[in-house]
Amino acid sequence: MDRPEILKKVNDVFIDVMDDDNIILNYVTTANDVDEWDSLNHIQLVVAIEKLFKIRFTSKEIQSWDNVGAMVDSIISKLN
């Protein structure tokens, strides 16, 4: 899977967790850009992404994400 494909899947997870069809992510999107992206949703995003890609993040990785691109890169590094 390449970066755009993963971004698309991550976008779907955001839509599902936040229950908002209008969310359009790009690599530089941060929590400041998405109203519903609070700490609770953040944890649920992590768990949903883990399930979808069958991967497991460390807490260090989770804390290091400052935007969606970093999240996507983390996923790529786990898949390869």
Partner: protein, 309 residues
């Protein structure tokens, strides 16, 4: 970003702005709580922070220390929530484990209790439960000659009980953590209270208590039914027990998982009690469907008495 400064009192404003800078994602939760708070909140929170900041200063600490404590507690809660959503279980299952990890660790206990006391005025559902308690307790002024609080923690509930109940009433506290006992002692600063550093299961008293408070302790024991039965034996015939406990609330010292409110009510009945009044508050601003799907914590609070036989 501005937080409704026209309705927010100064310490709360300061706390929110600092948290916004240090943990912007978390500050979104606080912003939602702030929308709910009203004049009555401002009055209560104002009085609280005046007292609390004095206590901090007496220990050469500042509000920034308390905010750091709060954020450490939030980091713990986030890590535990992640694990809980992955496994469906709380990370600890025995009392010995959490005793060593939390109650007997002064450092952990200190940030936890300072964090928790701030949460009483930062989280809508914590404030709602506190508000329910102080609005209802006056009904028990005439019948309460002896008051027991188990798991006093920071001492906020105890301090309100002292204010509300009769000047002649006796006050007894049991807590297993030295840090909690010391903090509650400082916070209440009242020589009428008898403090017992003890596991509640090892506590006995000749006289029965007319009113018992048990705030967020039931989920900390391996067998909550045994704890309620124990408190039933410590309660006078017409006495009242006020307790709070959450469902689906992972934390570093939670052992017993209540999956829903009905499970709590069930052990209340099994322990020989009947419910006089109850409330259940969702810990996040989400729809009931989402709360169920994502196992969002509900904080349950009830006034109960011995069941009629």
């Amino acid at each position: 970003m501005l937080y409704y400064p026209e309705v927010m009192i100064e310490p709360v404003n300061y706390i929110c702005e600092r948290i916004e800078a240090l943990n912007p994602i978390h500050s979104k939760k606080l912003r939602k709580s702030m929308e709910f708070f009203d004049d009555k909140y401002n009055e209560l929170a104002g009085a609280f922070f005046e007292k609390y900041i004095q206590l901090l200063h007496a220990e050469n600490k500042t509000l920034d220390y308390a905010i750091d404590c709060y954020l450490k507690m939030i980091a713990d809660v986030n890590a535990e929530t992640l694990e809980f959503l992955r496994t469906g279980k709380y990370s600890s299952s025995t009392f010995d484990e959490v005793n060593a990890r939390v109650y007997a660790s002064p450092e952990t206990m200190a940030y936890y209790m300072h964090g928790l006391i701030l949460s009483q005025f930062l989280w809508k559902h914590h404030y709602q439960v506190f508000d329910y308690f102080i609005n209802t307790l006056p009904q028990y002024i005439n019948t309460t000659k002896s008051y027991l609080e188990v798991g006093v923690g920071h001492g906020l509930y105890l301090s309100k009980s002292l204010e509300i109940l009769d000047d002649e009433a006796s006050f007894t506290v049991v807590d297993i953590s030295e840090t909690s006992i010391t903090l509650a002692k400082h916070f209440t600063n009242n020589s009428r209270i008898a403090f017992n550093l003890r596991d509640i299961f090892d506590f006995d008293n000749e006289e029965k208590f007319d009113f018992i408070t048990l705030g967020e302790v039931l989920e900390h024991v391996e067998d909550p039914l045994k704890l309620l039965s124990k408190l039933n034996s410590l309660l006078s015939e017409n006495g009242t027990l006020f307790f709070t406990t959450p469902t689906n609330a992972p934390a570093i010292d939670h052992i017993y998982l209540f999956n829903n409110v009905e499970e709590i009510r069930k052990i209340v009945r099994q322990a020989g009690f009947q419910i006089i009044g109850e409330r259940a508050f969702l810990s996040e601003e989400v729809s009931p469907e989402k709360a169920e799907k994502y196992k969002i914590a509900v904080l349950y609070a009830a006034f109960i008495k011995k069941a009629d036989v």
